[in-house]
Amino acid sequence: MAGGADEVARQALAHADALYNFARWLARDAVEAEDLVQEAYARALAGAGQFQPGSNLKAWLFRILRNVFIDRRRRAQREAEYAEHVEADVESQEPAAGELKLAQIRALVAEDVTAAVQALPEPHRTVILLDVEGLTESEVAGVLGCAPGTVKSRLSRARAVLRDRLAAYRP
């Protein structure tokens, strides 16, 4: 455990940009994002001994930051709503109508993509952003506190929703 605490002390601050980026997308507000990052680092230091040496420090910090965010938004209600909303229709997923409009999606610009991602519900934004960040499904599962298989289905559903939203934009 001591090695884990040392690793946190030595390397955690190097992930400040990644954590702030994640916080900005979660909170959709610059000021709140700074608060989230500061509180996440405070919690990381307080719990540094729990970090497993050699595991993904960035993923561990992401998990703390998301917990901070969820705590602020009443975690229980949000996750219950999400589970009910998201898991219900994964089974019936079909290719989105928007998939026929790939050239149109490819022509979208940063403002459109930003708006589409920001409009996603938080759990969808989170899996999209952690995936873009390069975390594996197992690491994302660690952040979300769920099984890797659940991450796969959530990510698949979130990407389908995002494709639908992007297909609805007119460049």
Partner: protein, 255 residues
């Protein structure tokens, strides 16, 4: 392989995360199923769009400094919560934390220097500030065009921004604003092009790496143009493609 399984594997397949056996099975399925091929192509396009156009927000320097300032004190308390830790390990941990802070503060300082010295960093700052403008910075009224915007800056800036282009049908002027730009305040002129927004930041160039001649680059999907004239530096940014941005830049830089 069933279509449902193929679609679950398409993303992993694009990222090379499948075993050779699964990749071969997926390939066989895609070669015979147009719907799943369409799905794989849609996944690939979405990856392209996210990689090219999803903005990445850098942590503000002030936040990094606050984090660094709070790090040693909190590092001192963290080992105390771990029972049984030896005094030597406590010392090593504090030393490590102190070293991290030193590196972090040095990095933050270096970042500031780089932001002022490098065009890439200058362009990145421009994109960040553009996103802040898009996020709802209040704009001055422009019913009277440039003649209303420029006097609005009076009292808000310690320089008079030299901008002559009043906008036209292709690039109507939307308004003006004053926004932080690195260590100074910038006059911001906001133009539109169809549904796109272009922000022009004008600042005193002293101490910043504005090039004498036009310099362009793409940052996180945004086109950025940097140049200078006289004592002022100009940073123009938009999600327009570069040729259209340069069309606006030519009008702004015209004497």
């Amino acid at each position: 392989m069933e279509c449902r399984t193929a679609r679950e594997l398409n993303l992993d397949g694009l990222r090379g995360r499948l075993s050779p056996e699964l990749a071969a099975q997926l390939g066989d399925h895609l070669s015979t199923c147009a719907a799943c091929r369409n799905h794989a192509e849609a996944e690939r396009v979405l990856n392209e769009v996210l990689d090219a156009s999803l903005p990445q927000y850098a942590a503000p320097l002030a936040l990094k400094r606050r984090l660094a300032a709070s790090w040693p004190a909190r590092a001192d308390t963290a080992p105390a919560a771990a029972p049984g830790r030896s005094r030597a390990r406590l010392f090593a941990s504090v030393v490590a934390a102190a070293a991290a802070v030193t590196l972090f503060v040095s990095g933050a300082t270096a970042l500031l220097v780089e932001q002022r010295a490098g065009r890439t960093q200058l362009a990145s700052e421009t994109v960040n500030d553009h996103l802040r403008v898009l996020g709802g910075a209040p704009l001055a009224q422009v019913t009277g065009g440039l003649h209303e915007v420029k006097p609005w800056f009076g009292g808000k800036l310690d320089f008079a921004p030299a901008v002559q282009f009043p906008g036209n049908d292709d690039f109507p002027l939307q308004g003006g604003a004053v926004e932080p730009f690195l260590d100074r305040r910038a006059a911001v002129f906001v133009y539109k092009r169809r549904l796109h927004t272009a922000s022009l930041f004008v600042v005193p160039r002293e101490g910043l790496a504005f090039p004498a001649n036009l310099h362009t680059q793409t940052v996180r999907g945004f086109s950025v143009a940097l140049w200078s004239a006289g004592e002022q530096g100009y940073a123009l940014v938009s999600d327009l493609n570069l040729p259209e941005l340069l069309e606006l830049q030519a009008k702004l830089a015209a004497p």
